[in-house]
């Protein structure tokens, strides 16, 4: 299959605080991976580093063989990595259709959308995420779950090979989570490599076959969910060190 993302010794320091510490892992093409860790572990920072929104203090990131360490975010997007954000963001004064159209107007998005036309292509994405009947209204009226779907739609518009989803389940009701799960599974079936973070563990652990666990910037476990969930250090990270529990 081939390695699509190779991260070596990734480190990010903010002044005295080391947010990401000597983080190394590999992702194969077509994999479905989760990244877990308590709040403040550094998950979003890892995503920011991979997607170019932060420059690493040390370490390298290779995507599909290309060294993408520290290059501009839009260039990374046009190479094939798309991401969503933990705090949902949208283009407030554009319609939902236009929100997705912007991604289709990126160089990479234009490659796929120019045959059918930007509007049709964006509409088809909205249909895939289930928002097409709200195409002409602004995002402000959407409930949280739909906003997350919109984010995913915007990311899909750039035709990514690797999709980084930052906490796609947080703040969602159970039904909304199921909707997102279906969407993500569909994308994975279409061949997109998916890398999710979260700390809503129930959904995540049943969804992905492989999980990376992170604590205070360090990678502490890498393996199937059941194994990682029972890992001593992971439990300590989430539950703390205890004396004399059962």
């Amino acid at each position: 299959m081939g390695v699509i993302l190779e991260v070596k010794n990734l480190t990010k320091k903010f002044g005295g605080l080391t947010a990401v510490n000597d983080f190394s892992f590999e992702i194969e093409r077509g994999e479905f991976i989760g990244l877990i860790g308590p709040n403040g572990a550094g998950k979003t920072t890892v995503f920011n580093l991979i997607s170019g929104f932060e420059k690493p203090s040390a370490g390298t990131i290779r995507f599909d063989g290309i060294n993408i360490t520290g290059i501009s975010p839009y260039k990374i997007v046009n190479l094939g990595i798309a991401r969503t954000f933990q705090l949902v963001r949208s283009f407030k004064y554009l319609t939902i259709l236009d929100n997705v159209s912007v991604s289709c107007l990126s160089p990479r998005g234009k490659e796929v959308s120019k045959d059918v036309g930007t509007e049709e292509y964006a509409s088809s994405i909205l249909t895939a995420v289930g928002l097409v009947d709200k195409a002409r209204i602004p995002p402000v009226v959407l409930p949280h779950g739909d906003l997350r779907k919109l984010q995913i739609g915007k990311a899909v518009g750039t035709n990514p090979q690797l999709l980084l989803l930052d906490e796609p389940f947080s703040g969602l009701s159970y039904e909304e989570q199921l909707g997102i799960t279906d969407l993500i599974k569909k994308l994975h079936d279409d061949g997109v490599t998916i890398f999710i973070t979260g700390h809503v563990l129930r959904e995540l652990m049943t969804l992905v076959p492989r999980v990376l666990a992170m604590h205070q910037g360090k990678l502490i476990a890498d393996g199937p969910p059941r194994e990682v969930a029972n890992h001593k250090i992971v439990l300590e990270a989430y539950l703390g060190r205890g004396e004399g529990f059962a």
């Binding site: 975010p73 004064y93 554009l94 991604s103 990126s106 990479r108 998005g109 990311a155 750039t158």
Partner: protein
């Protein structure tokens, strides 16, 4: 269609009678005043013309709206540009814009003996282009510039130079001036990429000041007096009026068209969420600079016309005042509307004239006239607009007129 309209009129007859009576009485009142005061004082004449203009346009808009009820309104997407234009004209905003443009086009005939008043319209149209250029930059890409005068003034100087020293015809001088303004925009825009919000405002403002100081220096760059005695756009002020009028329509149409296009969508995405735009694969740097260039071009066109209108240019044109003009005008008219620039420009120019007339009254000290012109008017207007009509006057006024129209047509 016509019978339905007549039915609506019968049903709403009371309302319509009241509204029509109101406008009729107002019209009679104004015409009476006109008759008595016409050759007495400029300030009153100005007020009356302005009010008359305003109410005629409202009244005609009403009538045009009634007439256009017979025009088929095509809501679906229409491919051809001509039919899209016709469809737009059938809408409320389109019809209103058309009425305003028709009125503007006959102003030269209405102001045949009033040279000063006629020239005020030319100045207002020039400022419309200038304000629209600022609105393009701030309203569509979210880059709020406090140094628009840099483009305005630089193009003014270049145009003047080409006209007087190189003896070019006005058209190539104007275009060349605007293109030079684009060059300036690259000089400002590239360092300004990383600046946002108040920092961008300060950065652009300081650039304006730098140009002011440069051009005010005595021995370089035309000296502290600048250039004067330039040839006019045309010997006939009516010709000048129509040239500026046509350029205004073309400039605003282009800016509006860009705003509605896919390029406009990308610009607006940068305005709404720059990080999100980056995450969508957009090279925000490239587009921000591009927006600067387009904005500078049209500000340069306005600057060229301004210089030719005044037949002179000096370092004053880079002053903070000229940077504030478009901001206040767009604030009044409505940001991100392009046409709001026109509303704000006309309102502001005529208001300044009226207040200048007021300040002529004996009881104000001598220096007050200048002070009244600039700082006080800006500040008061801006405060009023922000407090009472944050999105600008244009949108709420159009909303109100539209509601009136909907009542009339029974929606």
């Amino acid at each position: 269609m016509q019978t339905r309209l007549l039915n609506r009129i019968k049903e709403n007859s009371l309302f319509i009678t009241c509204v029509s009576l109101f406008y009729l009485i107002l019209l009679v009142y104004i015409l009476t005043l006109l008759y008595y005061f016409t050759y007495t004082s400029l300030i009153l004449t100005t007020i009356l013309y302005f009010t008359l203009f305003y109410f005629i346009f409202l009244y005609l808009a009403f009538n045009f709206v009634v007439l256009s009820a017979g025009v088929k309104r095509n809501i679906k997407e229409v491919p051809s540009a001509m039919s899209r234009l016709k469809a737009w004209l059938g809408t409320f905003k389109g019809g209103l814009t058309l009425v305003c443009l028709i009125l503007l086009s006959i102003i030269p005939f209405l102001t045949k003996n009033r040279y000063y008043l006629g020239s005020m319209f030319i100045v207002a149209m020039i400022y419309t282009i200038y304000a629209a250029s600022w609105d393009f930059l701030a309203g569509f890409t979210g880059q709020v510039s406090f140094g628009q005068a840099a483009f305005f003034g630089f193009a003014g100087y270049v145009t003047a130079d080409r006209l007087q020293i190189q003896n070019w015809h006005w058209l190539p001088s104007l275009i060349f001036g605007a293109l030079m303004a684009v060059v300036i925009s690259l000089i400002i825009g590239i360092p300004a990429i990383r600046l946002k919000g108040p920092y961008l405002a300060l950065g652009t403002m300081s650039f304006g000041m730098i140009l002011y100081l440069l051009f005010a220096m005595p021995d370089i760059l035309y000296g502290s007096e600048g250039l004067f005695g330039l040839s006019r756009l045309s010997d006939n002020v009516v010709v000048e009026y129509y040239i500026v009028f046509i350029f205004m329509i073309i400039s605003l149409a282009i800016m509006k068209a860009i705003g509605n296009s896919k390029l406009g969508t990308v610009f607006k995405s940068i305005r709404d969420d720059e990080t999100g735009a980056e995450a969508s694969g957009i090279n925000t740097t490239k587009y921000k600079i591009f927006a600067f260039m387009i904005s500078a071009f049209f500000a340069g066109i306005a600057g060229g016309f301004f210089t030719m209108r005044n037949t002179a240019v000096s370092a004053q044109i880079f002053g903070a005042t000229y940077s504030f003009y478009p901001i206040v005008m767009v604030a009044i008219g409505g940001i991100a509307t392009i046409s709001g620039a026109g509303v704000g420009a006309f309102f502001f120019i005529f208001l300044i004239e009226i207040l200048r007339g007021v300040a002529d009254l004996a009881w104000l000290p001598a220096g007050a006239v200048d002070f009244l012109d600039d700082a006080l008017i800006f500040s008061v207007l801006l405060i009023l607009v922000i407090r009472f009509a944050g999105a600008g006057v244009l949108k709420s006024a159009i909303e109100r007129l539209k509601n009136l129209w909907d009542i009339l047509l029974g929606r």
